[in-house]
Subunit: 316 residues, 2 copies
Amino acid sequence: VAQAGAERCFGDQLAARVAARESQLVLGLDPDPRRLWPDATSGADVPAGPPGLPAADAAAAAVHAHCEAVLEACAPACVAVKLQLACFERLGAPGRDVLGQVAGRARRAGLLVLADGKRGDIDVSAAAYADSLLGATPTPFGEVPGLGADALTVNPLLGRDSLEPFLQAARRTASGVFVLVRTSNPGAADVQDLLLQGGRPMWEHLAGIVADLGRVGSAGLSDVGAVVGATAPEHLARMRELMPTTPFLLPGVGAQGGQVEDLAPAFLPGSAGGLITASRSLVDAGRGEPRADLARAARREAERLRESAWRLSQSL
Amino acid sequence: VAQAGAERCFGDQLAARVAARESQLVLGLDPDPRRLWPDATSGADVPAGPPGLPAADAAAAAVHAHCEAVLEACAPACVAVKLQLACFERLGAPGRDVLGQVAGRARRAGLLVLADGKRGDIDVSAAAYADSLLGATPTPFGEVPGLGADALTVNPLLGRDSLEPFLQAARRTASGVFVLVRTSNPGAADVQDLLLQGGRPMWEHLAGIVADLGRVGSAGLSDVGAVVGATAPEHLARMRELMPTTPFLLPGVGAQGGQVEDLAPAFLPGSAGGLITASRSLVDAGRGEPRADLARAARREAERLRESAWRLSQSL
C-alpha cells in the first residue's frame, strides 16, 4: 500500500464528509416506474391521463420527481447517494438525462454521488466507462462531460489490468473505486466463496487485490473501497484484517436482512470505514400511506439507521 | 442441459443466420471520437468548424456517421455486430440515441445485434439491465422499449441467481446470453485462472455453470454462450469438452494477437459454434489512407477473416 502525497484523495474526502454530516448512510436510488411515490406519477411535472409525451419521457419525468422527493426526505440523514445505473438506463436517452439531473440534485444537497454500475471491461473499454462516469471524453468538438460521480462500483473478474483505467481516472479527480469483493445476494456463494488451492475462499483473494491497489490518505483511509454485503457479517472481521484501511460499502441492510449492529469491524479504521446503503427499506418505510407520510416514514427510518450506525462507530 | 421445445430459440436462430450468411464474423464497433474515419467528422451530417451543437451532440452525430460507414463497408462479410456500450454511454443521452440508431442500421443490414456491456448485478438490477437491452420496461405511461439486442454479454462473478434474470428475459425474446468465462486480456489470469481446491482453474468452474444453464435447440446449439478469448487458444479444446453445445464468442483476433487458424475446436458443434469478433483490425486496416481506401481495406480484411473462418469450419 503506497502513501498518497499532499494532493486531495478520496479517502480524505470521504472521512471529512462523514465527520461533517455525522452519517455513514448511503441513500440507494433504484427507481421502478411502477413503484414510485404517488405524487411522482400524478404531480405537476408529469402530464396526467393519456400521455402527451412518449412513454420514456413521461416515465423519466416521473422517476425524476420521485428521486427529488426521496432526496428531499432522506438527504439530511445521509452522506451519499448510490444511483443504480440500470434503473436509469432502461429509460433510454431521457433516463440518462435524469440520471445527470438527480446526481446534480444530490450534490447540491451535500451528498457524495456513487455510480453503482458494477462495470468491468478490458483496457480501452474500461477507460471509456471511467470517462463516462468520473471524467470527460475528449472529442474534436470539445470535451463531453461525464456524470461527475465521486465514486463508482467495479467488477474485478477481468483482473488487475481491467481495474487500472478506473483507478487512473479516479485519481485524476480524487474519486473512489469500490471493488466487488463479497456481494449480498445468495448466489454470491457460487463464485465468490469458491475455495482456492490452499483453502482460502475466492473473496479473500479479491480482498488482497483491493488492499494492494489502494493508496492511503492522511485520514488513514484508502482510495480503493470494497463492496461487502451486510448479509454475511460473519466474514466482516476477516475482511477488515485483510483490508485494514479500505472503506467498505455495505449493501443488504434492511430489505435483504442485514443488521447495523453486526457491522462494527467496518468502523475500525475510523467512522468512514463503513458506508451503509439502504434503498427499499427507506422508500417503502411508509408504503401504502399518502405522500406526506411516505416522506415522513422514509426520513424517520433514515434517521434511525444514521443514528444507530453513527453511535456504533463512535463506541469503538 | 435441458432440451428446448418447439419454440424459437437463440441457438437455432444463430445457426440459421451463420449458415445463410456463410460467416462467423462479428463486427465490433467501439468508436472513439478521436479516431473516426475522416468523413465522419467532416461530412455532411456534422457541422464543420466551431460547433453549433454541444460537444455531445456533435460527437454523437460523428460517431453515428462513422458506424454507418463501417457497417456499409463490413456488413456483407459479417453475421453480427457487437456494440461496445461504454463507447456510446460516454456521449450521454445523445450517445444512447445513436446506439439505438446503429443497432437499427445493423439489423436492416441483416446482422444480429450483440450488446457488449458485460453487465452483472443482483436480482432486480439484473432484471432492469435485461429490460434495457433485450426487453422493455413496463411503466404507468406505457412500455419503454429497450435496445432490442439479439444477445448480450454478462459477468458471472455474482453467481447463478444474478444470471437468471438475463436468461429469463433472453428466453422471452429468443435472445442469447454470452457469459464471460476466460477473457482475452493479460489480467484475466489474476482471477479467472486461479486454481481451485482439486486443481481446476476458476474458468473451468465458470464453464460448468454455462453448460448447466444452457438449453439446446434443434440445431444442437445452446442459448447460453461463453466469451472465450482467442488469445489463449491452448484452452479451447478443454473449453469445448466442458461446454460441448455452447456458442463461443471469441474476441482477440487481430489487434490482440489471436489467429483464426487456432480456433478449430470452437466449430465442433457446427459452423455457428464460434463467433469471431474483430474491430480495430478492420477499422484500422487502411489507417492513414483516404475514406474510400479505408472502407475498401476494411471490407477486404473482413472478407479475408470471414473466408478463413468459414473455410476452417467447413473443413472439420
